[in-house]
Amino acid sequence: MADPSLVLKREKMQYSYYPGCSLHSTGVAYDKSVRAMFRALDVELTEIDDWNCCGATAYMSVKETVACVVSARNLALAEPSGHDIVAPCSACFTVLNKTRSYVRQLPEFRRNVEASLNEAGMTCRFDLPVRHPLDVLLNDIGISGIVERQVRSLDGLRVACYYGCQIVRPERAVEEDPEVPMALDDLISALGGTPVDYPPKVRCCGGMLVATFEEVAQNLCNELYDRARSEQADCIITTCPMCQANLELLQQGRRGRTNGSSRPIPILYFTQLIGMALGVSDADAGLQHNLIPLNARFPPVSEMVCHGS
């Protein structure tokens, strides 16, 4: 373990935090675990005051200026702090970034968006980056910075790292091969876990199709379960509240119980697992909100604390 005085010297990192609607309801475990994980890393998140819905995909597809203005209000609210914005939800992350890039590339569109913001006395320069927590972990803190603070090993845990589509594709969250990203895998193995070979890691979970063409979404998710099962994964980790909910719900029967036929696969947020490695309690990691409990056993907190200090 590194010299604790060196760790303390790092200046406290600060970010504006945009939870988004999902993290206040179905994705509550993501919200809790993001906050707890960053607390354990001594990173300060300040929630953007009075944030509103990001505009999300459903909105984006119908009225573009309206969607971008709704989204831009959040960027405007965060701007005075000057801190980068962290948006854990992949949909919010994409929409906020798309708004930024549209506005920066299309001058007329920008004027329209600015004129609309002005109606409520707001202005925005659109220069604050919007970032995914995975990007902050890898590039601001770094894998070594995380391992430094690890108090519990993920030893013995077989993990299927599922990236989904939004963070490796349209608005790339991390500089990575969009076909075979390895960032999460590297992080998990640095913390002692075993990332399994998981070719469908960037396949689509179906997104909103679960509400419109459920059969199609079910097929997509089955592919993700099947591979995780055949690789004997203890869990699948995700980076997005929509993937997490889809992957959990499509394993449930109509009455909300797990289908008896095959072994249920727990679906965790990557922040839950990393948080636990950093000593975050099960409750702070939001494990009580998961529909399928993580049954895998891994070493208790105490073991690493002793040999770490």
């Binding site: 119908v62 209000r73 299309l106 329209n112 004129a115 609309s116 349209p170 179906g206 419109t212 529909l291």
Partner: protein, 223 residues
């Protein structure tokens, strides 16, 4: 049928197509122009990489490659009436892999916007109900409130489906994952003013080209 490969030529040659097709094209082109890099659409080499990469192309009646071809052959109406644009899950796999750098996903979005504006789909069409309900909620609360969203959505599309879903909703609720009350933001009045202003920049809704309403969802709703 002439292949129109250049966006400008469509506008300067109004006699090439039927009047309705011209209007649809005009609307679509306006949308495509709003996509940064959208005009690259004319560089499609019909390689089919998009279709081959698409995880849901098996469920589409027109593949993404065919959509590109039909556009150039001047048959937007057929694209709008297909289920392709609605089956697309916006996963961006096609866009990442297209060798001509075409923003396939964003172009499908642009087509969706035209379809919604022109109402070229059944009235109770699920995706439309979803985005409409969603937009209403944002206007009302400034945030999205899932219980209300799902209730309205399933109520409008299928009551039977809503009842089937109740078990799942209960499971989520038991785990503390459903907010039962919407949260209204403090700045809602300002947000509404912004939205009203922004609406003046989005294209106004033209006359309805409605089809028979249906209460079915999924494949049933669009044949």
């Amino acid at each position: 049928m002439p292949v129109v490969a250049d966006l400008d030529r469509v506008r300067t040659a109004p006699d090439l197509f039927e009047k309705e097709e011209c209007e649809l094209r005009e609307a679509f082109l306006t949308e495509v122009e709003r996509v940064p890099g959208g005009a690259r659409l004319r560089r499609c080499i019909q390689c089919g990489t998009c279709t081959g990469s698409c995880p849901v192309s098996y469920a589409m009646d027109l593949t993404p490659r065919e959509v590109m071809a039909l556009f150039r052959a001047g048959d937007i109406e057929r694209i709008l009436r297909s289920r392709t644009i609605w089956v697309c899950a916006s996963c961006y796999q096609c866009t990442t892999r297209c060798p001509s750098n075409i923003k396939v996903t964003d172009i499908l979005y642009a087509l969706k916007r035209v379809a919604v504006d022109r109402r070229v789909f059944p009235r109770k069409f699920p995706v439309y109900v979803l985005s409409e309900t969603f937009a209403k909620q944002v206007r009302k609360y400034g945030r999205n409130y899932e219980v209300g969203l799902l209730r309205t959505y399933f109520w409008k599309t299928s009551v039977v489906r809503m009842l089937m879903r109740t078990g799942l909703a209960l499971a989520l609720w038991r785990k503390g994952r459903l907010a039962l009350r919407p949260a209204r933001i403090k700045g809602i009045a300002g947000l509404r003013r912004m939205i009203a202003k922004a609406e003046t920049f989005d294209r106004p809704q033209p006359t309805e080209v409605d089809q028979e309403p249906t209460s079915e969802v999924g494949y049933g709703a669009i044949g």
